[in-house]
């Protein structure tokens, strides 16, 4: 079929009905597509071997995304009877072939937009990604009211929110995690107001509904889209992989929500 790099990072979007599946469901879909493509996936050792693939911070169920990433590992020693050749490096054209193949096997709504080889020196996505940009549509309040709430959140020294962690109710301070928050006008859904947010992923990620609980508990989440994930390097915000295939590149953050 072609030549593939031993380590491959892919970037994909998750829009439309597929967004109602969970991160776990997404992992299953990827595993099935990898098997269908007969890609020589490297497996973990041990009693119950699993394919070696690592995601960035999980996308909450029902949220869509324009910037999801997975790092994949391939091995020439894989037990999979494969027609693919594993090499240390692969050309953009060769990577294009495997990206297209995976895209064609994944469920509708998952579009693989870019891929690139890794040399193994990159950190894991989970460790490297420090923040995510979101477009969030909410209902239950006018844009003007919401503007005031947002301002008071940004002015507050602390914004305590309740959430359940490991089965226990805990109180966390939301404020340090909010890098940016602004009202962007009316949303695509009638009556909804659109927010733009950049939320830290460390020490732990903030979900859109957790953000809303910090703004006002009466707000209702209508739609949420992750538009970018960011790696901070020497004061610059970089994407793990840009939509045009550049590893650790910078791009203008997009503020449009993909169609259904």
């Amino acid at each position: 079929m072609g030549t593939i790099p031993a380590r491959l990072r892919i970037r994909y979007t998750k829009t439309g009905r597929i967004r109602y599946t969970s991160q776990r469901d997404m992992a299953r879909a990827i595993e099935r597509a990898l098997r269908q493509a007969k890609l020589p996936v490297a497996y973990s050792e041990g009693f119950s071997p699993r394919p070696l693939l690592s995601f960035s911070l999980a996308l909450p169920t029902a949220c869509e995304s324009l910037a999801e990433y997975i790092d994949l590992r391939f091995s020439p020693d894989s037990e999979v009877a494969s027609e693919w050749t594993v090499a240390d490096e692969a050309t953009p054209e060769e990577i294009g072939v495997v990206v297209d193949r995976l895209g064609s096997l994944l469920p509708g709504g998952i579009d693989v937009v870019a891929g690139c080889g890794l040399d193994g020196s990159e950190g894991s996505l989970q460790e490297e990604v420090t923040s995510c940009s979101w477009i969030v549509e909410v209902a239950g309040m006018s844009a003007k009211q919401l503007d005031e709430r947002v301002a008071s959140l940004l002015n507050a020294a602390q914004v305590p929110i309740e959430r359940v962690r490991k089965g226990r109710q805990v109180t966390d301070d939301l404020r340090p995690s909010v890098h940016h928050l602004s009202v962007e006008g009316s949303g695509a859904t009638p009556g909804a107001v659109r927010l733009h947010a950049e939320l830290a992923t460390k020490p732990r990620g903030v979900r859109p509904n957790e953000l809303l609980s910090g703004i006002d508990s009466t707000l209702r989440l209508v739609r949420a889209s992750r538009t970018s994930q960011w790696i901070e390097r020497n004061g610059r915000r970089l994407e793990p992989l840009t939509a045009d295939g550049q590893l650790l590149g910078s791009a203008v953050p997009t503020t449009t929500i993909g169609g259904r």
Binding site: Y20, R32, L34, S48, P49, E79, A81
Partner: protein, 647 residues
């Protein structure tokens, strides 16, 4: 037809597991509705995760969508959070493909696999804005059908369904569609539902309850009045003679979200002649019809390639009995195209060492636990139920499992069986203790778990006349067993809630009067009764009381063998004297051999329909002592006339 998705979508952010409601499975179809095309909504009355893998529903889905004048979509019971949101927003039950409301379908057809899902059927009809009772439906209301194993006594649902199908659905589903299509072709102004009912009654295998009226006297049904010339005295089930002609599902649905049995499933045979007397499935699906081995391999290979699954289950009621099992397993496991990453699972293992050896060969990747079903705690008990597994069979199987590297063995048992004594219940602990001992020969830490289900006598089986244990008696036996097992390290006991067993029993052998009770349970909020967090026996007892009925008349009452049973007019082909003889033999502790390898004893399943067993070999499987009367060491040919292929 309008899609309701625009109204549904805003709810999806706020319900559990929203992927249940969006469709989009690989293999899913989005048929175009139009005049002259009979639209079917195939419904499973439990959650998406439970219902999606149902093979019967998927087979009918494909067959209907292949017809030029029919189409099928699917629906499942919305979970309680979604139901609440749908009712609040005025959204009816909808299909997961095109999100079309149930009222816009010509037919809604329910798969009935478990009695405790019946209240969900009522809820789905109500949510689908289909008049609940057949008598309330007019010429333009959706036609309500039901099929599946529970239809051998559909009386509790008789008032709510237009018609019920007995047996295999492959052939009859298109016949029904044609009848419905012809009726729908009539002018709605002059169309009468009775004409549809009469026409449906003319289709073999179809039972139209409204054409019959049961007569009651006190706790019993004493007769059945036939109200219309179109109705036959007995409705016989449908049987597909040759499974090889029906290689379905061809495009098994691969869901976007996790479901039970999330793997490729290939049915290798239908029917079972082991003759376990408690087993309704084994009685009503006779005779044995094997799929040609080459077709099994082809279905597996094609299914793996298109689905990306890495596990295939070869399904049947006793897969180790499939004549070609070793060849099929070898062909799949050794196929280089699968790269050694495809595992084969046999959901129903026979209890013997040979079967374990086969399992060892195919489960090299993930060797977690093995499950056996001796069902009875003592040899005497197993003779009563005709599950002829000797203690030695079980110990050899368990020894083989532990020696091959397994560390967890699960055993299935029933309690509350006819003639059961406390020593039979305690025998479960004793078997467990011996199995733990065997395991310790090989590993320091082993777990043997015994799952104990309460026995519910089922219609169309030899035990259909027998009393079921009361809730208190089952609870006492469980306590007795747990007390004994507590002293055995390494043995875990798991048990089924006796109250749920009781409710299942009330409905399983219920008569038409149960309809009011089911409606009362449903109106009281009693949906998802299969789910322990929602189940409440109290609702059933109150429903019975309010309707002047008593639970004990359905559960703990011994029936006379000459009493009228609510399902007497429905036939799975089994002769009544066969069932009665089997009942007598059970009480006398006499076993009966498997007729695949012994001469025919004329149960009726073949002779009634002029069928024969379709098996590829006249040699019992090696090591299979159960019910064959053969030695444990190897299979020996027995003198018996067999038909290698269907004629």
């Amino acid at each position: 037809m309008t899609s309701l998705f625009g109204q549904i979508e805003p709810l999806l952010f706020h319900v559990e597991k929203p992927a249940r409601y969006v469709g989009g499975e690989l293999g899913s179809q989005e048929p175009v509705h139009g005049p002259g095309i009979v639209s079917w909504l195939l419904a499973y009355p439990d959650t998406y995760e439970i219902g999606l893998p149902n093979q019967g529903l998927q087979i009918l889905y494909e067959i209907l969508n292949e017809q030029p004048d029919a189409l099928a979509e699917r629906t499942y019971a919305p979970w309680t959070d979604m139901e609440k949101a749908m009712r609040a927003e005025g959204i009816p039950l909808f299909s997961v493909e095109n999100h079309i409301g149930a009222p816009d379908f010509d037919v809604i057809a329910f798969n009935l696999s478990a009695e405790l899902t019946y209240t969900n059927v009522l809820n789905m009809l109500d949510l689908g804005r289909i008049p609940l009772r057949t008598i309330e439906r007019g010429p333009t209301d959706t036609v309500v059908l039901a099929g599946g194993h529970c239809t051998y006594n559909p009386e509790p649902l008789a008032d709510f369904v237009d018609a019920v199908v007995l047996g295999d659905g492959e052939e009859v589903v298109t016949e029904i569609s044609t009848v419905v299509g012809a009726w729908l072709g009539q002018d709605p102004a002059s169309r009468k539902r009775i004409d549809l009912h009469r026409a449906l009654a003319g289709v073999a295998g179809v039972y139209v309850p409204s054409l019959y009226r049961p007569i009651f006297d006190g706790p019993r049904q004493i007769g059945l009045e036939i109200l219309d010339d179109a109705a036959t005295e007995v409705v016989e089930k449908r049987t597909v003679a040759d499974l090889g002609e029906w290689p379905y599902p061809k495009n098994q649905l691969v869901p976007l979200t996790e479901v039970v049995h999330d793997r490729l499933n290939v049915e290798v045979f239908r029917g079972c002649t082991r003759g376990c007397r408690f087993c309704q499935a084994g009685m009503i699906t006779r005779p044995v019809r094997e799929r040609p081995a080459a077709q099994v391999v082809e279905m597996v290979n094609r299914g793996i390639a298109r689905s990306g699954y890495d596990e295939v289950a070869l399904t049947s009621l006793s897969t180790a009995d499939f004549s070609g099992i070793e060849g099929v397993v070898a062909d799949v496991v050794d196929d280089p195209a699968h790269g050694g990453r495809v595992s084969v699972s046999l959901p129903s293992l026979r209890v013997d060492a040979f079967t374990v050896a086969t399992a060892a060969k195919i489960q090299q990747v993930r060797r977690t636990g093995l499950t056996f079903a001796p069902e009875g705690g003592t040899w005497r008990m197993r003779k009563v139920i005709n599950k002829l597994i000797s203690d030695e069979d079980l110990f050899a199987a368990v020894d083989a499992a532990f020696s091959q590297g397994w560390r967890r063995v699960k055993l299935y048992f029933l309690i509350g069986l006819p003639t059961e004594r406390d020593e039979d219940v305690l025998g479960i602990a004793e078997l467990g203790r011996r199995c733990v001992e065997i395991g310790r020969k090989y590993h320091q830490n082993v777990t043997v778990s015994a799952s104990v289900g309460g026995f519910v006598p089922k219609p169309q089986t030899p035990f259909q006349w027998h009393a079921q244990d009361s809730v208190d008696e089952l609870a006492r036996k469980i306590a007795l067993l747990r007390g004994e097992a507590r002293q055995i390290r390494g043995l875990q006991i798991k048990w089924h809630e006796p109250a749920a067993t009781s409710a299942e029993g009330i409905v399983a052998r219920g008569d038409r009067r149960l309809g009011n009770v089911l409606e009362a349970v449903w109106r009281d909020g009693g949906t998802f009764q299969e789910w322990s967090e929602h189940f409440d026996l109290g609702r059933f007892l109150k429903g019975l009381e309010d309707n002047g009925l008593r639970a004990e008349d359905y559960t703990t009452r011994m029936r006379d063998v000459d009493e009228v049973l609510p399902w007497d007019h429905l036939s799975a082909g089994l002769h009544r004297d066969f069932l009665e003889g089997e009942y007598r033999d059970a009480l006398a502790e006499v076993g009966l051999e498997d007729c695949r390898w012994t001469p025919c004893y004329d149960c009726g399943a073949c002779t009634t329909f002029d069928l024969e067993h379709v098996v590829a070999s006249n040699q019992p499987p090696a090591g299979g002592s159960q019910g064959t009367g053969q030695g444990l060491d190897l299979g020996v040919p027995v003198p018996v006339i067999l038909s290698p292929t269907a004629t």
